[in-house]
């Protein structure tokens, strides 16, 4: 598979989740592991351009796929504006949910849709944050959508 643009070849046990493979084999610990059954969204990553749960996909299923993680999107500066807005708006406290939250938010921004606050909430509904109460997160995403998306 290709991870953040780099070709990676490994033998993996079938039971290994993609997020564990990224964290333990490749040291990419930005994708977090929360509930391990698809509820919390902390492990959200991108596979072939679409966001998925890293804990609900086996590493072996990603054979031949393009995988992008928070590290890749951060290094490529794709998330620069979103990261800036999260920082300014205080849209994180402990930071555990933040990588997954950014991946889900960026997915919405990339869709080019001029999403309303309600649509933003729906799009991040699968990402739990136990600190902020979501208000500041929605503020930050809305700020980027307002400045980034000119069509919709």
């Amino acid at each position: 598979m290709t991870v953040n643009g780099t070709q990676v070849t490994r033998n993996v046990p079938p039971r290994q989740h993609l997020v564990d493979f990224l964290r333990e084999e490749l040291g990419l610990t930005g994708s977090h592991l929360g509930c391990e059954h698809g509820v919390c969204g902390a492990c959200t990553i991108r596979v072939n351009g679409e966001i998925v749960r890293g804990c609900l996909m086996l590493a072996v299923q990603a054979n031949g796929c393009r995988v992008d993680t928070i590290e890749g999107l951060s290094d490529s500066k794709e998330l620069e504006k979103l990261q800036g807005a999260f920082h300014r708006r205080n849209a994180l406290q402990c930071g555990f949910c933040t990588p997954g939250m950014l991946m889900a938010a960026q997915d919405l921004i990339r869709s080019g849709k001029k999403a309303t606050r309600e649509e933003i909430r729906a799009h991040i509904s699968g990402n739990y944050c136990r600190c902020t109460g979501y208000h500041a997160i929605v503020d930050a995403i809305e700020e980027v959508i307002k400045t980034e998306v000119t069509h919709g």
Partner: protein, 257 residues
Amino acid sequence: MKAPSFAYAKPRSLAEAFDLLERPGAKILAGGQSLIPSLNLRLSSPELLVDITALKGLSEVEVKDGTVRVGALCTHAALERSEEVRKHLPLVAEAVSHIAHPAIRNRGTLGGSLALADPAAELPACALALEAVLIISSRKGERRVKAADFFKGLFETDLKPAEILVGVEFPKADKSVFLELTRRQGDYAIVGLAAVVKKAERRLAFFGIGGKPILLKPRSLEEAKASLPTPDADLYHSSATKLHLAKVLLDRVWNRL
């Protein structure tokens, strides 16, 4: 938790998949959005996962003579994006937006949802309301089963070992409405209702109230309310609450049909 150990195979043809499914402890893996959580929670311990996602021709949407044929591997996200589904199967288009969250809809499949037959899931009720026909393939050939005969009970369907659900034919309806009540966006429904009108007949498929979706074909709102079965309680909602909420949905849906 981590999943228990299992072997994994990814067949390239149906014939190869049938061979693999005959091995002891074999289980089909499609989108994995229900199977993998159940492995992680150690509720399931198959010996071999047969990943059917490399099988060709099982994810198309095709419109023909008043029916829409959808491949079993079509993801919820693909159903949501499909112009054809929105135009010819608005019920399904509305329903999929209620299934979990975008990251899960990107992998979860139509066939997986129907084959699992979760009593609170959206798509089994849609299939029942629309009188869908499920196409099941095995080494012996193909057989077709009506949705009403496919769902047998709690997580129980007409699928036999070594059979694969390959597609679904949805007849178009004249009118449809989909509603569900949840505590949070994306949760399984407390109670839901997939309602259609076909040739002046109202077909109401309730889900979340019993072991499988329940179909009513009432002539009046009063008849519909009176014929609702006593719902099964779940961990958080009593039977009385569910019955009340089912009636709330009926009130909301009835005049929109």
